[in-house]
Structure formats: structure tokens, C-alpha cells
Amino acid sequence: MKLKPGLPPARNLIIAVPWFWLALFFLLPFLFVLKISLSEPTLAQPPYMDLIREIEDGFVTLVINFSNYQLLLEDSLYLSALWGSLKVAGISTLFCLLIGYPMAYAIARSPVHWRLPLLMLIILPFWTSFLIRIYAWIGILKTNGLLNNLLMGMGLIDSPLEIMHTPIAVYIGVVYNYLPFVVLPLYATLIRLDLTLLEAAADLGCRPWKQFLLITLPLSMPGVLAGSMLVFIPVMGEFVIPDLLGGPNTLMLGKLMWTEFFSNKDWPLASSLAALLLVALILPFVLLRHFERRAEEAST
């Protein structure tokens, strides 16, 4: 985005603040990561070689190493980790929407004096540390945990369910943790929905469920999209939940990155994984925006 010439300087200044912030804390670190991803690993501290090296007599040379990226594409481990992340993020987003939409809808349609307390209940878990909440799930899901004891005590099952260290545990943890990020933007769009539109639809012969399908749902798509992005993007790189709740078979990019970085001390490979993740996240949104713009132009 370009600043228009002739804007008052005060406005330029205000717009400059977030740009500066993003440049300093997002763009610059990413450039570091990109740099490391193009370097060669070495046994040193830090464990990678500079791109620009002095050879002799003041001559410098630039060494760019694409072998990390090559490895990512050749070794099926990394692509299946990408696929694993995509799968967990996609399915979790779907479940967050399926559970979060009715919740947001119910809050938006509840009496005014109920809305704030209900929203507070959605946000309340954030008062507790993220890690503690995940550990609490371990206590609930493990073989000798709360859930199994309860179900066996009630006589519903004979042997404990194996949930811990399975993909199901990861899904439970992710959906539980990210649900508020879907509920809040959905609530914000649903509360703004003009209810006379539903009356108009009813007046034109629409039954309640069709009113929802033809009016409420399409008009709440911005909230659905915002909520999905708020879940999908962080889950793609999620490390803690799959590490604590998932088993050894849970293959995700975040976990792999951690292993490469801390266990294998291969900073360049970990960095190239981070770059791959970013591309995997940004590419769909760039394409989406492109098609949206094309559709807008076509309609006018």
C-alpha cells in the first residue's frame, strides 16, 4: 500500500507507526530466518556459516546454499509433515466452526443482559495459562484419567479408551484451545446482522431454516473467514499441543522444526522449514484475494 501524496503529515506519521512496528518485529526477523535458511550448517556457535565470507586479501564471496530447500522437497518426511499440519489445521478449523457457530449465534440472539456474561464465559479460560490448560487435558484424557475413570465408574466401558497420544487428543486440545478465536469474530458479525433482513425473507415466503441458509449464513461469511484464519494459521505452526497430547506418529511442521532446531542443531534446515510454512500460509490468501478482486471487477 502506497501513501497518497499530499496527505497531511500527521496522518503519515500515524500510519508509519504500525508499518515501522511490522518492519522491525516481523519483516526483519523473517529476513534473518531467510538468511539462515540459505546458509550451510556448521559445528559452531551459532551453528551456521555466514553468507558473505572473506576469502583472502579483502576479497569477499557470497555463498548461497539451496540444499536445505532441496532436502525439504526430496525427503518425503517434510512434505508429509506439511500434509499433517494442513490436515490437523483444516479439520480443527472445521470442528471449531461447527461448534463455534451455534455458540456465537446463541449469544448474539440471547437477551441483551445475557450477552456480556456469556462472552465472558468464552474468554474466561484465557485467565489460566495455556500450558496449564493443556496439562489439564492430559489429566482428563490419560489411560487412568478423569474421563476413563468416569466412564468405567458408570459402567459404560470395560477397558479404558486410548485417547492420549493419538490424533484425537490433538484435535480435542486444538479445538478446545482455539474455539474462542472462532466464536468472537462470528459473534461480532452476527450481532451486526440487520434482523429486518430475516423479516423480509420471511415475508417473501422463507421458512426459518431457509432464512438462515439464504441470509444469515452468507452474510456471516466475513466472520467465518476471519475465525477460520485465526485458527488455521496458528494451528499450522502449532507445536505445544501436538507435542504434549499427540503421540510419536503425530507429524506436524511445528514439531519437526523444534526437533531440527533444538535436537539436531540444524538451524538452516529449521529456518527453511519456517520459510516453507510461511509460503504454505500466504499463498492461499494471496490467491483468494486475487480471485475476490477478479470477481468484484466482473460484477461492476
Binding site: L197, E199, A200, A202, D203, L204, G205, L219, S299
Partner: protein
């Protein structure tokens, strides 16, 4: 400016044997302790352009919403075309509504908005397209079919809303402040267009409005509402000329009110003694009145004439001094103070004021009017 509508010679509300298209029977709507609509009964006939007129909070919108099915009466019944619809949901009623905010679906273009109701009926696509084209030309917006609502002006949106509500051939079209969001010029022009469309299609229109001029111009009959009740139901001319209550007299146009009591009645000629007037007041009234009964006379400012002399013998005369003059272009309004302190206003066309000696401030005048000019209010 006010064109009193020339309605068809036959007046369906005069024919009691005909089944009215809308029958509202003792309908009450209560919100908590508040009576929005208080025991209203009303018949509306096929082909009428019927207005519910009143200031905000008088219950007119609640009544309309009960006809549409968005509110259920607390008690009473509503019949549409002979069918009891009191508990029938909006999507099964043979009525459509044009909303005050228009309520166009923002994610659909104009053609899809208009086709929405037809699609719900399951009408075939080709048939639907023909009907949409027909409606677009009815409201003269053929070129806007592919636009989205946010790309339209207020006037264009109003037309889309009208077309959409007419699409399903409703038995009754309900219009909530149909011209409320338009500016004055466009509003006057659209008034006539709305009447033309209504006459062409023959659909019964029920309009909610707070604008008396709008109601007067368009309606076959007006129901004047006040605090959840109906004050008077009459054609515009009757409502203006013969208001039956104090509220009706003062709501529509301006009026001079004289409190007095009946002295005598010969046939339809009634003589009224009023302490504020210099003479007895004579008025025509066909209903029998008892001598001594308290009545209020309503006199429209434009029916007052300036007399040359005061005649001791004649009724309907007032003497006073002109205190204020408001020049409105076509007419001027004169405020006259009587010796007792009461204010009386009258209007005179400025054409006439120019031809005669112009009236000025502090001038002593004698005012008079004919016995046909006054209305008798008994409430």
C-alpha cells in the same frame, strides 16, 4: 399542493354486504404494561389505498406488523380475504411488505432481490426472469438489474424494494413509511407514481405514515391513530373538513377551536354560545344535540373571511387585532387576538391580499364565516 385524491365513484366501505379484504376484530397488542394497540377494529376493502396515520408511538407500525405476521395480537383476530390469519406465520400469509429501511439483501443483486420471493414459491427460472423483467419495467429500473444494493441511490433502492414486494402478487401490500427516506422533491414525485401503480395493479395498499400531507395525497381512506386507538376513519376530504375529535381536528392542518354550549337547534342549524366570540356561532350539524350541551367548534383558517362591517344581528363574527403575519409565498397566515385574549388564525391567498387593501399589523378586523364552514366536535 395538496391534491385530494379523486377516488373511484364507488366507495367500497359504504357497501356493508361486501366482505372486506382485511378485517381486524378487537385487536390488542400489549408489550408488558404498555398497550401499543388497544382494542382496534377496522375493515379495509379490496382496492383501497388505506393509510394508518399518526405520530410516532401511536401503534400504527405495530398494527401493520400484526398484518404482516411479525407480531401476534395479545387478543383479537385478524382476517385476510376471509381467512383467519391471527396465528399464521409471515411466510404463509398472502401479504407482502415494503420495509421502511427497504431491507434489500446486500449480497444479492437487484434482479435476485426481486426474484427472491418467486424462487421461494418454486417458480420456474424462465418464468421468473419474465416476471422480474416485468417488475423492473414497472418501476423503471431495467438498467439496474445487475447492480448490488450498495451501488444504488436511495430512490433506486426504494424502487427495488417496491418491485420485490409486488413480485408475488400479494393480496395486500403493506408499506411502512414508503417515502420516509426520500428527500422532499423525490417524495412528492414518488407519491403520484405509487398511486398510479396501485391503481394499475388494483392491489390493496395499507400504508403507515406520519406525514399527513402524504396520507392526504395518496389515500382512499385514512385511519388516524392516537395512543393505540383509532380516532377517526374517513376519506381525506372528510377527515379534513369534518374532524370528529379534537385530536383529529388539530392533527390534520391547523384549526381554531371554540368551546361553548348549545343554545338551540332548528333542523340542522345549531346555535352555539361561546364566551370568546362577539356573536352567537351558527353551524350545520345533522345529529341531534341537547340545548345546554358542551361542544367544541372547529374552524379551518382558510374558511375565515375578512368582513367590511360588524353586523349586530348576524352570527359567526369576531372582532380582533392582527398581531402577527407569516408570509408563505402563496398564502399568508394572520394571527388575530380577540379582546378576551384568545388567538384566532386565518389565511388569505396573497393574490387576494394584493388586489384589495393589504392587511397590516395592529389593524382592527372583523372576521366571519358561513355556517357550513365549522365542524362540531363532541369529544
Amino acid at each position: 399542493m395538496n391534491r385530494v385524491r379523486q377516488f373511484k365513484p364507488e366507495e367500497p366501505w359504504q357497501a356493508p354486504e361486501e366482505e372486506p379484504i382485511v378485517r381486524i376484530e378487537n385487536v390488542t397488542k400489549r408489550f408488558g404494561a404498555f398497550y401499543a394497540v388497544d382494542d382496534i377494529s377496522l375493515h379495509i376493502h379490496q382496492g383501497e389505498f388505506f393509510s394508518l396515520l399518526g405520530s410516532s408511538g401511536c401503534g400504527k407500525t405495530t398494527l401493520l406488523r400484526m398484518l404482516a405476521g411479525f407480531e401476534t395480537p395479545t387478543s383479537g383476530q385478524i382476517f385476510i380475504d376471509g381467512q383467519d390469519v391471527t396465528n399464521i406465520p409471515p411466510y404463509e400469509r398472502p401479504v407482502n411488505m415494503m420495509f421502511q429501511s427497504y431491507a434489500l439483501f446486500p449480497h444479492m443483486n437487484v434482479a435476485d432481490n426481486i426474484a427472491f420471493g418467486l424462487k421461494q414459491e418454486g417458480m420456474a427460472k424462465s418464468e421468473r426472469q419474465d416476471r422480474v423483467a416485468e417488475l423492473l419495467s414497472l418501476v423503471q429500473i431495467e438498467q439496474l438489474a445487475k447492480r448490488k444494493p450498495h451501488q444504488l441511490s436511495g430512490g433506486q433502492r426504494q424502487r427495488v424494494a417496491l418491485a420485490r414486494s409486488l413480485a408475488k402478487h400479494p393480496k395486500i401490500l403493506l408499506l411502512d413509511e414508503p417515502l420516509g427516506a426520500l428527500d422532499k422533491k423525490l417524495r412528492e414525485q414518488t407519491q403520484f407514481e405509487l398511486v398510479n401503480i396501485q391503481e394499475r395493479l388494483g392491489i390493496t395498499f395499507v400504508v403507515v405514515t406520519h406525514d399527513q400531507e402524504e396520507a392526504m395525497t395518496m389515500s382512499s381512506r385514512i385511519a388516524l391513530m392516537h395512543e393505540g386507538r383509532i380516532e377517526q376513519v374517513d376519506p381525506p376530504r372528510r377527515l379534513y373538513e369534518f374532524p370528529s375529535t379534537r385530536y383529529a381536528a388539530s392533527f390534520i392542518g391547523s384549526v381554531n377551536l371554540f368551546d361553548g354550549y348549545v343554545v338551540q337547534q332548528d333542523d340542522d342549524q345549531v346555535l352555539v354560545q361561546c364566551d370568546e366570540a362577539d356573536s352567537l356561532l351558527q353551524v350545520r350539524h345533522s345529529q341531534p344535540l341537547v340545548p345546554g350541551m358542551a361542544v367544541t367548534l372547529a374552524l379551518r383558517p382558510e374558511k375565515v373571511r375578512v368582513l367590511k362591517d360588524f353586523d349586530e344581528e348576524a352570527p359567526n363574527q369576531l372582532r380582533g387585532q392582527i398581531k402577527e403575519i407569516a408570509y408563505l409565498g402563496d398564502v399568508s397566515i394572520y394571527h388575530v387576538q380577540l379582546p378576551g385574549g384568545k388567538w384566532v388564525q386565518f389565511t388569505q391567498p396573497n393574490v387576494q391580499a394584493l388586489a384589495e387593501q393589504p392587511l397590516t399589523w395592529d389593524e382592527e378586523v372583523t372576521l366571519g364565516w358561513s355556517a357550513n364552514s365549522c365542524g362540531v366536535l363532541t369529544e
